[in-house]
């Protein structure tokens, strides 16, 4: 809709467009023989900016072109009322000269943001202590500072037909894989939704359709981690209002890596990595293994151990399958309860969970001690997985493993592993296989182990296009 030359009419229309909101304000002032009208939403503007850089210069320089008067960088002219309304919502001030069917959109946004904090979910012992925050501009600033190259591409997208959420997509032009990029742009371009909840919605909308419980997009709040992935030719997605950065496409192994691995020596880093992978396997299979051993094949264990097991189970009426499921379920309930609870209350949960469930259940002969040990160990093992999404997947997988083990014993366990392997091998992200076996000579360097940095120059995880790129150039000592 085109602007009217009369400010009064414009105000009426703008008011209607902004749903007659009460915080939509306007103000008149005259300088020389010009009448100005300033429209703004008073909850969205920085008052000082408007007063010092818009109103004051206009009053002091009558009869001058607005562009030359105001000292504001974000300046735009428009004749459309819809543009003006959108600008108002974004926190801009809109100036109109009486008798001119034209709006001047001047940036005067009020910025409220928290300071850059230390990461909460991804803590490390060594390395940077900056975390992304909710403000997109600040996040981009953090990343641009880490990657000071003109090669870093930042592309804006507006997602959400109603919320108009700003989404920034980052990649390194010369490293990112063209096909992945094309596929990604196609997918993000085809999103049509009224508002965006990041990272959850974006994650679900751009990933491949195939059903799986394994996370296929890596979520991180650490700028240094984002940089590491960008350098591998991946794409990072930042959303305004969310402190999480999404990385695509990542493989299964990325979820078991931690930034810490690369900060300490490769031998120690490797052993921690290996421990983590072992714990991932334990977290999904230990209760199942216990159920299989106890119900089907106690013969596998030496006689003495079988006796110990039997003595703990002597007075337990519930079959091991239900014992395991019950205890794991209790654990999940406890976990979920503590996350949402106010911190003073969590002590209560600690007592209820630790003492009542841990001890009394055993004393009451409801659950065997061995089962409590197994479940506690499983829970501990699952907490070693660095990614929250992967951790949840592992915990969920435990249940089918128990079920299979209770039906077919050790064989069921083996079959479940095969099934998980097969399932993993069939998943693709952005047209790239999600899983590759980490055991062949060129992949083991950055999967089961964290090889020395010199050997990582061409790791499988990297999908950088420039194949001659070497991370560490060895200097010839001649």
């Amino acid at each position: 809709m085109l602007a009217d030359s009369s400010p009064v009419n414009n105000e009426k229309i703008l008011q209607a467009m902004l749903s007659h909101s009460s915080d939509f304000k306007s103000s008149d002032f005259t300088a020389g023989d010009r009448h100005y009208r300033l429209y703004y939403i008073d909850t969205m503007i920085e008052l000082a900016v408007v007063q010092d850089h818009i109103i004051r210069p206009l009053l002091h320089h009558p009869n001058i072109v607005i562009r030359e008067a105001v000292s504001i960088l974000d300046y735009r002219e428009t004749e459309l009322l819809t543009d003006a309304a959108q600008a108002l919502v974004e926190g801009k001030s809109v100036v109109q000269i009486d008798g001119e069917a034209k709006f001047y959109l001047l940036g005067s946004e009020l910025k409220k943001e928290r300071t850059v904090n230390i990461p909460v979910n991804e803590r490390v012992l060594r390395g940077s202590n900056e975390a992304l925050i909710e403000n997109l501009q600040t996040n981009l600033n953090l990343l641009r500072k880490l990657i000071a190259t003109p090669d870093l591409a930042v592309k804006y997208y507006q997602l959400g037909t109603r919320s108009n959420t700003k989404v920034a997509v980052l990649y390194i032009q010369s490293l990112a894989n063209d096909e992945v990029l094309k596929e990604f742009e196609k997918r993000i371009g085809s999103i049509n939704i009224d508002y965006v909840e990041a990272p959850g919605f974006i994650q679900e909308l751009i990933q491949d359709k195939k059903f799986t419980i394994f996370p296929r997009l890596l979520v991180t709040e650490r700028p240094d981690r984002v940089r590491a992935y960008l350098m591998d030719g991946k794409i990072a997605i930042l959303t305004d209002g969310s402190p999480d950065c999404l990385i695509v496409p990542v493989s299964f192994w990325a979820f078991l890596q931690s930034p810490d691995d690369y900060q300490i020596g490769w031998l120690i880093g490797s052993s921690f990595r290996f421990l983590r992978i072992a714990c991932f396997i334990l977290a999904i299979s230990l209760p199942g293994l216990y159920v299989a051993l106890v119900t089907f094949d106690p013969r596998i264990l030496p006689f003495e151990i079988t006796l110990t097991l039997q003595s703990t189970m002597q007075y337990i009426a519930i079959p091991p399958v239900f014992e395991a499921t019950l205890m794991l379920l209790t654990l999940e309930i406890l976990r979920e309860a503590t996350i949402r609870l106010a911190s003073p209350n969590s002590q209560t949960i600690g007592i209820v969970g630790g003492i009542v469930i841990g001890t009394i259940v055993v004393q009451a002969n409801l659950i065997s001690t061995m089962m409590v040990v197994v479940v506690a160990f499983t829970a501990l093992a699952s907490y070693l997985i660095p990614s929250y999404e992967m951790r949840s997947a592992a915990r969920l997988l435990t249940f089918p493993f128990i079920l299979m083990a209770s039906v077919l014993g050790m064989l069921g366990l083996e079959l479940s592993f095969l099934l998980v392997l097969a399932h993993l091998s069939r998943i693709h992200t952005m047209g790239i296989p999600y899983f590759y076996s980490g055991i062949s000579a060129d992949t083991i360097k950055d999967t089961f182990f964290r090889g020395p940095i010199r050997s990582l120059n061409r790791s499988k995880e990297s999908m950088a296009q420039d194949s001659s790129r070497i991370r560490v150039r060895r200097r010839d000592n001649k």
Binding site: D297, R299, L408, L411, L418, L421, A422, S425, R426, S437
Partner: protein, 365 residues
């Protein structure tokens, strides 16, 4: 979609080894020792050498038609009608092979591990999982197989460690007294155990390599390793059991594993058989995959719905397997399969190569 990407040389290596080894690890050298007794290991070794020759044939054949698979180029060798019939026969061979492997292993499991579980449950579950894997792309199959090699490595370790138990080297002596005739005769029984390398007939164009020669090297290395593994098992078994014992023990490896005790694991045989299920499953799903792919070229146009074919074949296999529940029929079919697999894995490639060479000039134009 069926081959999303090419497979690597390493993946080919894993694929061939794991397709070759299967249920037979438990029975070797029981069948092979029917005529040769304690000289069975020579038969096993000889069969590996013959397999190597067949690999050379298949490689030469594949090199001539480097951009196509056997079910595709079979038409340019034999023409449409015979080609279709051959594709159908080979597809049937693979389907029955996968059935026999699945059924034999279910039989082993139901006799040694899960006595009370209904037999068809075991075979049904293993065929279903094999079908699920076989319905994916060749690349996914290769990835899975590469991961299963870890299980194979564990089993290999178990075999090597437990094989060093009590025994007598004099069981081998005097070497070769059974004569060339019986040794050659028993080689035929080992064919079925070595079958698997002929998957190259299908996968040749999908192997990613700088030089075609690398394929031959990988294939030979894989076959060499399998031969080594089989001979190792034969030697371990012959070292442990005398000829008369050998003749009455159908699954000697299980006996050896059972008598070996580790401080943390009492019956290694159960552990071994559990892990070994993964390795046999490879054989089942590779055969199922190949069967579906050959079947896809039976009609004049390629049938594109791969997973439908696989699941159809799997259901067919399972239903057919319901009638195979008694041990005698499995053994009968196994005997019969020694000959069939010899034909498919060695004689057919040889004929194909000969005919193709005869028609060589046509191919060049």
């Amino acid at each position: 979609m069926i081959h999303l990407d090419k497979i690597s040389i390493k993946q080919l290596f894993c694929l061939v080894i794991l397709t070759q080894v299967g249920v037979h690890v438990l029975t070797i050298p029981y069948e092979e020792s029917k005529n040769t007794g304690y000289d069975a290991w020579i038969s096993v070794l000889l069969c590996g050498v013959i397999g190597q020759a067949a690999i050379l044939l298949i490689y030469l054949l594949g090199k001539r038609y480097a951009d196509r698979t056997l079910p595709q180029y079979i038409f340019s060798i034999f023409g449409k009608p015979i080609g279709k019939i051959l594709n159908l026969l080979i597809a049937a061979y693979y389907a029955v092979s996968s059935l026999v492997v699945a059924v034999s292993y279910s039989d082993v499991i139901s006799r040694w591990m899960l006595f009370t579980t209904p037999w068809y449950v075991i075979s049904g579950v293993s065929i279903a999982i094999a079908a699920y894997i076989a319905s994916s792309s060749l690349r996914s199959i290769a990835t899975i197989t590469q991961s299963i090699i870890v299980m194979f490595a564990i089993c290999f370790l178990i075999v090597v460690i437990s094989g060093t138990g009590k025994g007598d080297w004099r069981h081998f002596l005097p070497v070769g007294t059974h004569g060339i005739g019986p040794i050659l005769k028993d080689t035929i029984f080992a064919f079925w155990a070595y079958a698997g390398y002929e998957l190259l007939l299908y996968v040749f164009p999908f192997v990613h390599c700088h030089k075609k020669k690398n394929i031959l090297i990988a294939m030979s290395a894989a076959n060499g390793f399998t031969t080594f593994f089989y001979v190792l098992i034969s030697v371990i078994v012959t070292y442990t059991f005398s000829e008369s014992q050998l003749k009455s023990i159908p699954e000697p490896m299980i006996f050896i594993l059972r008598q070996f005790k580790w401080p943390v694991v009492q019956s290694l045989d159960i552990l071994f058989m559990t892990i070994w299920l993964g390795v046999t499953t490879v054989t089942v799903y590779v055969y199922l995959f190949l069967s579906a792919r050959y079947l896809a070229f039976v009609r004049s146009t390629e049938i594109r719905n791969h997973s439908l074919l696989v699941w159809g074949l799997a259901i067919g296999c399972f239903t057919a397997g319901l009638w195979l529940s008694d041990r005698q029929s499995i053994l009968r079919i196994s005997d019969y399969f020694n000959n069939v697999s010899m034909i498919v894995s060695s004689i057919i490639p040889a004929i194909l190569l000969l005919v193709s060479l005869a028609r060589g000039k046509v191919e060049r134009v």
